[in-house]
Symmetry: C2
Subunit: 320 residues, 2 copies
Amino acid sequence: MKQPLAVGIDIGGTNTNFGIVDRRGNLLFSGRIPTRQHTEISFFIQELHAQLYPLIQQAVADGAEVKGIGVGVPNGNYFRGTIEFAPNLPWRGVVPLASLIQEAFILPTVLTNDANAAAIGEMTYGAARGMKDFIVITLGTGLGSGIVVNGQLVYGHDGFAGELGHVIVFPQGRLCGCGRRGCLETYVSATGIVRTMRELLHSQHTYSSLREVDPAAITAKMIADAVLQGDELAKQAFEFTGKILGQQLANFVAFSSPEAIILFGGLTQAGDLIFRPTIHYMENNLLEIYRNKIKVLPSELKESDAAILGASALVWEIKN
Amino acid sequence: MKQPLAVGIDIGGTNTNFGIVDRRGNLLFSGRIPTRQHTEISFFIQELHAQLYPLIQQAVADGAEVKGIGVGVPNGNYFRGTIEFAPNLPWRGVVPLASLIQEAFILPTVLTNDANAAAIGEMTYGAARGMKDFIVITLGTGLGSGIVVNGQLVYGHDGFAGELGHVIVFPQGRLCGCGRRGCLETYVSATGIVRTMRELLHSQHTYSSLREVDPAAITAKMIADAVLQGDELAKQAFEFTGKILGQQLANFVAFSSPEAIILFGGLTQAGDLIFRPTIHYMENNLLEIYRNKIKVLPSELKESDAAILGASALVWEIKN
């Protein structure tokens, strides 16, 4: 029998990464093209084909069977195979991306948003192997989420389920990119913790090494590094971020009663700095029946390949 | 072919109602026994059998086939067939109710909590017929919820999913029966709106006919009646209740992106008084992609029979 392989494509605002993955999550071939400079979707598809198709031909020549293409993309709609009104991508309106890729490559193509792809990736290759009920929270520039119930990704009626970054935690809170106020991702994300740090520097007089940095240049990584140097305000920023996240995780648990919550993405590299307060405040806020049984785990997907792996895992879900 | 029928049993703190229901949701036979006086579960099962078994025999004699028994009960666990630590029932600890009933009646028996039973009932016979993604919110003494995703009830990893009444909306808010503070049901429920009304009477000096009632004797029905008489404070109580509910529904939508949210139970009899502010504040708080497409509907199950119908509908879900 030929070895079954899946193509994963991760479309980001700046770059598009792609690769060919085996059933166990090994990345066998990979490549990258820029996203932003292709303001015409047809030129993007052309360059993608020029770079990716030779890899597929190579895999087939090596005796494999490429089963299909999975795409993870911001604002991706699984049901319609479209990208819809993605603020950080160069293409306006609704783009029928799955059918464009399918026509170019003549391979079954399935598409979803990047956080859903991460959830499928964790279930197939990562920390959620064997689990049927879990939530993946991606902590990057924003906060994304992929929810699995009964072993199936929750897409909802229109394909847009799982926008937990836009749960409102403070009705009059921070302004969000979505135009509303107080969304979870304005507090819990790489940009959220930076906003918290700036507020702390402004409202308190405690010494902090970050006072020497241009406030506009502060990053989540700098805050984590400062904590390791014993910086008290930076520690408060992580504590506050974990508190808001933990409180909201306790609410999410009341919805779907998951076996585990998996944290994924840049901010989780701070390890205990974010996990400890998150778990503490989640447990403190859980309804009694849920206490001491919800695991909060780091992703087991290798950070640099995770998005490709997640996208490729969609292919194994295609029903024949 | 024999007509297939299902038994539904609704166990409440005071009474247990039961009936035999056809595939279309017609209640053919029904009866009731008291719950509270049976402090021994075995005596409860005995009386249930004494009253219900003759109805089953009658149905069989009439040429029907009784397929099984569905039970809706507070703190019911679908996976284990148990009642667990139910504060409002006379039986302590964990009670293996499904197996006790199955042994007594020699019929397949399945059990879930009352709000989940309502959700299955709406999907089978009511407002959610044909829907695969919806949420039922039951507004009674507390706030219960049953969530359906991909046509399946969400039980979660341990069978306790869907406790939306215990989402914390104000971290330092009202004391809840669960021991925590600020749970949604302390604001949005028959008892929640009464607490709101008492607070309004205390904090404001506006005239209200409810000032003439002993504060401890105020009911949700009295508040609804007062609104119809033009009572300004009573109107504020409904407005506030709908606001809190609407804000939280907007968050729930971000989780599962349902086609509809169905409101069920006593407080919904106030009709527009509760639906209008709920819909208004939900829409005002929804993320843009969800706006103007989530239906908020009243239950279509006849109030007095709804719990029996919901419990009976569990039987049709039993896999052979």
